[in-house]
Symmetry: C4
Subunit: 276 residues, 4 copies
């Protein structure tokens, strides 16, 4: 769907996942590693896999069955030309994220799949997204090409980082870097939607102006700075929440201790009173 | 051989190796590591090396001695031009896989070659394949160039993964990734054969149509999805076979135990009968 | 600021940091690792972070509020065109180094941030610099393009090295490599300033002459050789200073020992004198 | 020196070093690691560094003081143009290898330089060679460009492998890979000399013929296959020599044992004779 919705939909998916990760990974890092917390996180990963599969299905169905979609036809009726290849490309993109979701579900359920596989397949799904995009933007006006190729930096960067996580598991630096790239992708998809298909029927951007291209490059850096800030703020929030809960717990314990101490002293007083 | 057979032959080789690996690596990972299983796997690796050498010889001989081949001539008779450089290129490609096979054989036989060398040389052979392909496709129609350059993604990706295995030995994630890329290469060689040299004498593809190029890109992704699925299915099959054998064994053992228990109880009965 | 000062300012920043690192890292490597030296180095890192933030602020303010700067305006008054995007680009570059400085400060202060983050964000800041430069130099004369793209080698190389330091912490080889690239960047910014904006009003370079381009390439290599030498000399100086201090200390100790020995022998002499 | 000798000289240097490494590394790997062998190897590394410095000096002097060289002049007398930049480029290339040699000498002598530095600087020297070559071949006929850019594969590959050795020390796979790339560089420099400056005054190659370019690509692969074979043969030779020396030693020991046994039996015979 080369329109506003076709970019806003994947943008929202990436943004949701990025924001969710920006809370999940700090929690995983800062929480105490007990058996129960580990089991809890496995259930969370399972749920994440299921959500991924659902999002992918939504994406595929949306791309196929929108009014101007291919409705699962690949060849036109006269078997002379291809039908809506753009929509097929987007479906394929979602398909790989769906496969990644299935692997997540299988990893955290019964089969003895080694732990790195979920990352390997997610990395391939992201690479596949970039791969399709790379051949997607040829023969377009300069601004369109440029705005999409900026996205490729985030996409291939993300793929590389996730691939590294196959070998360097539970490395917070990599995880938060990946998170900020996911948020960047999400916001940038929305930016593309607003630039190329202004929804309010506003004036179109001049797609050949060099000033616009320079501005868009700058804009991409600002998006990344914002993504980094979101990750930083969420890390700090999680840090404070965990500190607060701990101090409450220990506060409750202290209070309990205090009470029992008080009671003891009362008893003592009474006893000493008795003794008087 | 720039024809159907010249692409179907290497395609079959890669496909066979890919399918074989998709069974070998899960077995190696899931089986218990006993001394006898280790020795068995070394013999298997040796056999694999020999098969690699044989396939390479077949490939070299086929490229050299087909009716329109160079028959080992490099310069034309008037010493003015080169003879059938394309066939020489393909021979060179097979030569490197042959060297890789020889190194496999040497590694798993007597000489004290460190264990990473088989992978290093295989990686170089795959890189060499990509290197020759890269300079192979210049000055061709767009579709021809594109369909070959898609292959390069699988080839250089495979080379990189195998190179990583020099250092990260026995990593199932890398091994299955390499396997799926080998299957992808195999099926894609067949796809190239069908697209560029339609065997049934069907209509030729329009090699300059942008729609065809977009479709071929999509098609490559689907091939990869299929390759991943084949690997996943074979992993699951191997997992079940091993589970089944174990449960049978333990079933047999239980049965044996049961029998001996029964016998014991019979004896006991008899004894107790005697006692009556 | 596409003028002499606009290149001399960042050049000086990089040069200062490079020279400082060429002393810091050898000290860190050669000093004994005691608790007090570790605490001292943490305070030094904190100070470095603060200096980084200050330099970035200076850079941003200079780019925004020079007489021909954008004064924080992004759109022109008729909302038709962008204002001074070049200055905005440079401000963005400084912004990311500022973020890196803030992360440094946070890492070495209270929050429980894992230790690799300071490097990750510094690496991203350097990458961002290269990213902006890459799109900065299109549509310029050949010499201008070439002299900037040489800088990119140092920039992206530096980014990669610092990224490696996220995982390979306290590796002197990486640290000194990074240091020499920082010095190279610093001197090269000055070189760019002198070539493109000769300050003494000297004759302009012919920006299309191939000889000039070849010479500039050579010149870049010589800058790097000089940067390597500076690092080597500073390492040796630090090595000698530490040796000297140690030998002084042990000399003092020896002297002390000698004195006490002398005293002992005096006592002995007196005693023996007494005995006479 | 853009002539036969200017390519044969560095070719010989690389070839000599490659052949030397193809003997050194297997010896280092296969020999027993005793204190004395370790000290011996350190002296060998020191000698290697000195040879590197000498070769570099020879190269620099040859490039500067051949009859048509720049004789250390950089600017022409009228200060209008550069003098013989090509020779200056080659001198710079040798300069970096000289620096690498000096670092080798310092590493294996007194200063407390960490062990990875020799590789880091060698890697930079090789990278610098490739860097200069990359900008060296623009504006040349296609064959000239192609034959030099093939060299770049070996050069940048070598630089990467040596960089890896900074972190993965004493890895035979890397060391022999580096060795084969050095031999490849050596023979390819000679090949370039023979193709571009045929010494016997033979007919020039057609530098625009696509067949020639295809053949040269193939030829490069064959050079690499030969380089790999040389490394393999030398490894096997070293293996046999060490086996032979060991069996001789143990043979001598056995013989000694035999003799002493014989003597004992003689003594025994004599004794038994005495007893008769």
């Amino acid at each position: 769907m080369a329109n506003f919705k076709g970019h806003a939909l994947p943008g929202s998916f990436f943004l949701l996942f990025g924001l969710w990760w920006s809370a999940k990974y700090p929690f995983k890092f800062l929480m105490k590693r007990t058996k129960s917390s580990k089991r809890c996180f496995e259930r969370v990963e399972l749920a994440e896999g299921i959500v991924k599969v659902v999002f992918s299905l939504v994406g595929i169905l949306a791309e196929q069955f929108v009014p101007d979609g291919p409705h699962l036809h690949l060849l036109s009726e006269d078997r002379e030309s291809w039908v809506k290849l753009m929509n097929w490309q987007h479906s394929t993109m979602y398909l790989f994220f769906g496969i990644s979701g299935i692997v997540d579900v299988l990893t955290y359920s019964s089969l003895r799949i080694p732990i790195g596989f979920d990352r390997l397949v997610l990395s391939l799904a992201v690479f596949n997204e970039g791969f399709l995009f790379y051949f997607h933007v040829q023969n377009r006006p300069p601004l369109d090409q440029h705005i999409h190729s900026l996205l490729l930096t985030a996409v291939f960067g993300g793929s590389l980082i996730i691939m590294l996580e196959v070998f360097l598991r539970d490395n917070l630096a990599l995880e938060l870097f990946q998170t900020s790239l996911a948020i960047l992708q999400g916001t940038w998809f929305w930016q593309i939607a607003f630039v190329l298909y202004p929804p309010s029927g506003g004036p179109m951007w001049n797609e050949n102006d060099h000033g616009n291209i320079m501005f868009i490059t700058l804009c991409f850096c600002w998006h990344f700075a914002v993504a980094l800030s979101i990750v930083a703020v969420n890390y700090t929030l999680v840090y404070w929440i965990i500190q607060l809960r701990r101090s409450k717990k220990s506060g409750a314990m202290e209070l309990g201790q205090l009470k029992s101490t008080e009671m003891n002293s009362h008893v003592h007083l009474l006893q000493s009173g008795d003794e008087d």
